[in-house]
Symmetry: C2
Subunit: 253 residues, 2 copies
């Protein structure tokens, strides 16, 4: 029985639209025996895995969720049966989303792990705004940071602002006012800022504003999770794009 070797593929589902999956991801889905689905992944992804049994293991901050330890045991159980388990995660599996813990658990259990990269929602948000994350007239980098920390503390917003990089803030919508307030201690009030909800999906909604108006306008527009908050002078390029683009910016209405 030990000769049947299963494996787990940690698969990045990208930001939403199925055609933002990689070719490698599509191949892995087609070969999947078991599909374990995250809340943030597009549910239509099951159509690409016709032979797989689908198990939903959503985990949303604050909501009823499948315990992490249970998810890890489930992956191991099926892999030990010789099955190809595909664990689907929204965006890129290696940015947030606890892949680190799952890789470590599988590794210690002696189970083979493949990782298939994908497009993180911060990149899709920039594409929606029609901007580079790192326009070299404005900055030399971008920082992807989660506002939802393990110990419920806040990231060091002053230190993040001091880098001069574009900030792409994930899981920040529930505390957007306090994030903006903290950043205003370090950045100018007119620093360009944006929110992109459901980036890279047909439901995408975009707001382009300035840091001092960010929280009020996002609330007024009814924008909520899942969304990426973008801060920094490179985001200012989106304003001009909105005026010139044929499609314009689909402001949240």
């Amino acid at each position: 029985m030990n000769h049947v070797e299963g494996k787990v593929t940690l698969l990045s589902a990208g930001p939403g639209d199925l055609d933002l999956l990689t070719l490698r991801a599509a191949k892995a889905l087609a070969a999947a025996d078991i599909l374990m689905l995250d809340d943030l992944a597009n549910p239509e992804i099951v159509t690409l895995a016709p032979n797989a049994r689908v198990i939903r293991v959503g985990k949303r901050g604050g909501c009823r969720s499948t315990p992490q330890a249970f998810i890890e045991r489930l992956m191991q159980r099926y892999a030990r049966k010789g099955l190809h388990v595909v664990r689907v995660k929204g965006g890129d599996a290696l940015l947030f989303g606890r892949a680190g813990e799952e890789i470590s658990a599988l590794r210690h259990a002696g189970i083979a792990v493949d990782i298939v990269n994908g497009v993180s929602s911060g990149f899709a948000a920039a594409a929606g705004l029609g901007i580079s994350l790192t326009h070299r007239d404005h900055c030399q980098g971008v920082t992807f940071v989660t506002a939802h920390m393990q110990d419920h503390s806040q990231p060091d917003w002053a230190a993040l602002a001091a880098t001069g990089t574009t900030l792409a803030i994930y899981m920040g919508m529930s505390r957007i006012a306090s994030i903006a307030q903290a950043l205003l201690l370090a950045l100018r009030a007119d620093t360009p800022a944006a929110v992109v909800q459901h980036a890279g999906s047909p439901d995408e909604k975009r707001l382009v504003t300035t840091l001092d108006r960010l929280a009020a306008e996002a609330t007024a527009a009814g924008l909520g999770s899942p969304a990426v908050i973008l801060i920094g002078s490179a985001i200012g390029e989106a304003v001009e794009f909105a005026c010139h683009s044929r499609q314009g910016l689909a402001h949240a209405a």
Copy 2:
């Protein structure tokens, strides 16, 4: 004549392997009339664009290269003829690589621009090492930064280190010793560090070490551009992976 509408697609070629392209990218390539190829993109990508005339417009720091203004004029000229121009960029087009300037030039010329996201080499590097970029036991984010700045100055390494995020440094191999030296003023000598050359391609080479030994070991291993340098305690997870993984780490030899 003005009724023929061409367009430019800024297309992310991903880190190397063609199956790390998105499904959307493959569709855009199949429909391309003109393919403008970056040095960093896998040259085999032309096989996915059978109907396209291929124009090579490589730009490598310090080498003979196609001037940026010429590339921008060329894109506009073909788009104005009603052609679908696909401008291919390595990694994700919106991270480094001057997409910001190209979008701006096209926008001002009134030419429609599509953006197709992809996998940036920093994500492929993490996949090669078998780690999350943001293991939540270690950090709350990751900063992608280029060491190759417009004015030839250095980024503020102390400020970047102070964020506590994983650092993913692009275009840093030619000055790896000075980067490590600057970071050692702010980070512990035993901070985990890695280099992944040709991430996400068959030629991928990996080195896992510590910050104080990084430059000497990378040089001894003959690692050079293009490569991603990764610094931070989350990178330490790669060491254990190397011991447990069946394939192990393909150390540069």
